[in-house]
């Protein structure tokens, strides 16, 4: 379980600090798939960076009940761009997060290859990143995050830069991967349909400063259909609420 409590974050600016997040609370159960939706620039990415410890919040805490475990990292991120290190072969890119954990070389290699096998790219281990397609690189980025065996796998619009067909394929692969590994996932997107299709629960982040405005359980059984009526109704409801906030924010 991951507990995020009373998270507040402000960035310094010329006219005093701008509060981005205020009193953000979210609890994510182990093995749960949670999606965070919100308008562009509302602070979704920032939220992930705070949880990952890349940005220090003014107040609040992020706690994982799994505690520190050797050979693992508590949080792992998948970015919108694959962020391959072009000078490393695919398998060495996957090993990136495993370095510095005091693991023997063979163990690192084994875990990297296992993670690559999970995303179906074990046979591409010795390629250079530039030899892969955009979708394959994004799979490698997912493998890199999985390799560190995180308590929470965070994904920041990971399929946003892909073409529609590749995006759908990767969405289905992600659900499959999640069911096989039992990982806890926090998935950020501005695509409400994507969130409803993938997640158990959809959290709406809105307002300025941003906070949790609503939470919707998506009870549609898996495997899901993209045109499921119940999911569509949920997405429509979230979309309505979101547009209310956007209008308020614009002062209309």
């Amino acid at each position: 379980m991951i507990s995020i409590k009373d998270l507040s974050l402000a960035f310094p600016g010329e006219r005093g600090p701008t509060t981005v997040l205020q009193d953000f609370d979210l609890t994510i159960g182990r093995g749960e798939f949670v999606a965070v939706v919100g308008a562009s620039g509302v602070g979704k990415s920032t939220l992930l960076r705070v949880i990952a410890g890349l940005v220090r919040p003014q107040s609040g805490s992020v706690v994982s009940d799994q505690g520190p475990t050797p050979g693992r990292r508590p949080y792992a991120l998948v970015f919108q761009d694959s962020r391959m290190l072009p000078w490393r072969r695919v398998v060495k890119n996957v090993e990136f997060g495993l370095e510095g954990l005091g693991l023997p070389k063979a163990e690192k290699r084994r875990r990297a290859l296992d993670a690559l096998a999970l995303v179906g790219l074990k046979d591409k281990a010795d390629r250079w990143p530039h030899q892969l397609s955009g979708g394959q690189r994004q799979r490698v980025a997912i493998a890199r995050a999985l390799a560190v065996d995180p308590d929470l796998l965070m994904m920041d619009e990971p399929f946003g830069a892909l073409d529609a067909i590749t995006r759908q394929t990767l969405q289905d692969e992600l659900v499959d991967l999640w069911q096989r590994t039992g990982k806890t996932i926090l998935f950020v997107t501005h695509d409400i349909d994507e969130a409803v299709y993938l997640a158990d629960r959809v959290v709406l982040l809105a307002g300025s400063p941003a906070g949790v405005r609503s939470e919707d359980q998506v009870t549609t059984p898996r495997p899901r259909r993209r045109d499921d009526a119940q999911a569509r109704a949920t997405a429509a409801a979230i979309r309505d609420r979101l547009s209310d906030y956007v209008e308020q924010g614009a002062g209309i």
Binding site: L54, R73, Y75, A76, L85, R89, F96, G97, H130, R144
Partner: protein, 253 residues
């Protein structure tokens, strides 16, 4: 498999060299210039053989190579190291910015008087001149390279637990900067040969000194022997460097 045009291009290149040598040979042959001012290429092999037999060639080449390699190594290492540090630390860059602006435009050769005063007419003086010659090229290449490293990759290092400056340096910053740093090093390879000749002109034993001696005796054929020697040495060193570089950068598309 060479394409058909490949052999044609090679043939043209050879033809170009032949034409150049022919023209060179013709100018003194037709008396346009006295051979003492421009020795014909046909006279060079014999002069070269005499230099080798007297032992002067070995001595000069070994001595110059020593200066070259030491100067190149020290200058490149210091330039890259300080450039990387200045690139990583904003305050260090600001701290050094005016000193850099002040020292940078002074040509390496302007340091000759100080080189002699500090080191005397010794190999160290020659090495010092070479170090100054290659330092700035590498300093600016490394500084620019480090500052141009993709911030997203730095963030990636942070996200995957490589948070200290040393971890970031070796996991991301240096590998991401290899290509432009290599370009700086390669420019230095050429620059250092110029500095070698200049540094030896004032009497430190080596190619430069031997050329000076020869020119004062109007033995222009000997001068040409060492000019060619330098060109060949540079060619060998540069192509070795390119081979190593291409191996290091084989991840590039």
């Amino acid at each position: 498999m060479p394409k058909p045009s490949q052999s044609k291009r090679l043939l043209l290149a050879f033809a170009g060299v032949a034409a150049f040598l022919l023209l060179w040979e013709a100018v003194p042959w037709f008396g346009l210039v006295r051979p003492i001012l421009l020795p014909p290429p046909s006279a060079i092999p014999e002069t070269f053989w005499r230099e080798v037999q007297s032992g002067a060639w070995h001595t000069a080449v070994l001595s110059s190579l020593g200066h070259y390699l030491w100067g190149l190594f020290l200058g490149s290492f210091l330039g890259v190291a300080l450039g990387v540090l200045a690139g990583m630390s904003r305050s260090l860059e600001d701290f050094t910015s005016w000193v850099v602006r002040l020292l940078r435009p002074i040509p390496g050769l302007a340091w000759v008087p100080f080189a002699i005063i500090w080191f005397g007419v010794t190999p160290s003086a020659a090495i010092f001149i070479i170090v100054v010659g290659v330092f700035w090229i590498n300093f600016f290449a490394a500084l620019g390279a480090v500052q141009a490293v993709d911030r997203d990759l730095i963030e990636l290092a942070d996200a995957f637990g490589h948070r200290g400056p040393v971890a970031k340096l070796f996991k991301v910053i240096l590998p991401a900067s290899v290509s432009p740093i290599m370009a700086g090093l390669r420019t230095g390879l050429g620059q250092a040969w110029m500095a070698v000749v200049a540094a030896e002109l004032f009497g430190v034993p080596g190619l430069g000194q031997r050329m000076m001696q020869a020119s004062s005796l109007l033995a222009t054929d000997i001068v040409v022997v060492y000019m060619i020697t330098m060109a060949v040495l540079y060619g060998i060193i540069d192509s070795t460097f390119v081979a190593v570089r291409d191996r290091l950068l084989r991840w590039k598309a």
